[in-house]
Symmetry: C2
Subunit: 149 residues, 2 copies
């Protein structure tokens, strides 16, 4: 991916894969205590009595880990990853010990008519170590055009 | 909102408002260091040179604060807030010192045909202390039906 740097280097159907992140029970509880204080995210014993039947990460914790994997994988070279929005889906619980990674595909490319940039539509799917899809994000992001393009 | 507890208590057009949360520069940097390590979120001097022209919270930090405000406001009584997904939009930067709150409206109500629950579609918009919309989330959430309904 080292040669991809500008909007003009991208093509519909191009695929990406990030590195991996392992999530632990203390991380799940710490994030939840600050941002999503509900039983299924806070404590194994209480979580066992919920819909999730065991400790599960907050969906926003999962989304935040996905962002870290994205930033580390630099899909657009050194340019910042600036998202204007998108759709999130949570398909399966993320459990302590899970090892997560993302696969991405470019679905749309729209050059701006007025600015030296374009909007990139992607679908990122996060999988666990069993190959089960746990989360998806379909962001629209802004990527600069190659100078002179 | 104390009388709202079950799917059957909800009506399209019903409105909600959460409490407020103030965000600080150390919080912005701490979240970013863990989940979104990009210059605009990490350091005032570097951030001044970016598109954001100053320190701004990671969009996922903003989303996580919105979740905490939601959980604290208990829009569905004591039932857990279980989201299956939705759309996120970031409209304006969230800055150190901003005081944020959410306003919500029920947009759709779909009873399950097979389970004692329904899917609630809402639009939550987060505003800062200037009344400027900074973030929106349109989640689909699962809420149980009143026993016997």
């Amino acid at each position: 991916m080292a040669m991809i740097e500008w909007f003009d280097d991208l093509a519909i159907g191009m695929q990406f894969r990030t590195g991996e992140a392992r999530i632990t029970a203390p991380e799940i509880k710490r994030f939840a205590a600050e941002f999503d204080p509900q039983s299924m995210h806070l404590d194994e014993v209480s979580a066992a009595k919920t819909f999730f039947k065991g400790l599960a990460a907050s969906g926003w914790h999962t989304a935040a880990i996905a962002m870290r994997l994205l930033v580390e994988s630099r899909p657009f070279g050194d340019h910042p990853i600036i998202g204007i929005g998108g759709g999130v889906s949570w398909m399966a619980p993320v459990r302590p010990g899970d090892v997560l990674y993302l696969e991405g595909e470019i679905e749309s490319l729209t050059p701006s008519k007025t600015k030296p940039q374009g909007t990139v539509g992607m679908k990122w799917t996060m999988y666990n170590q069993h190959g089960q899809a746990v989360y998806a994000f379909t962001p629209m992001t802004i990527v600069p055009r190659r100078p002179g393009a």
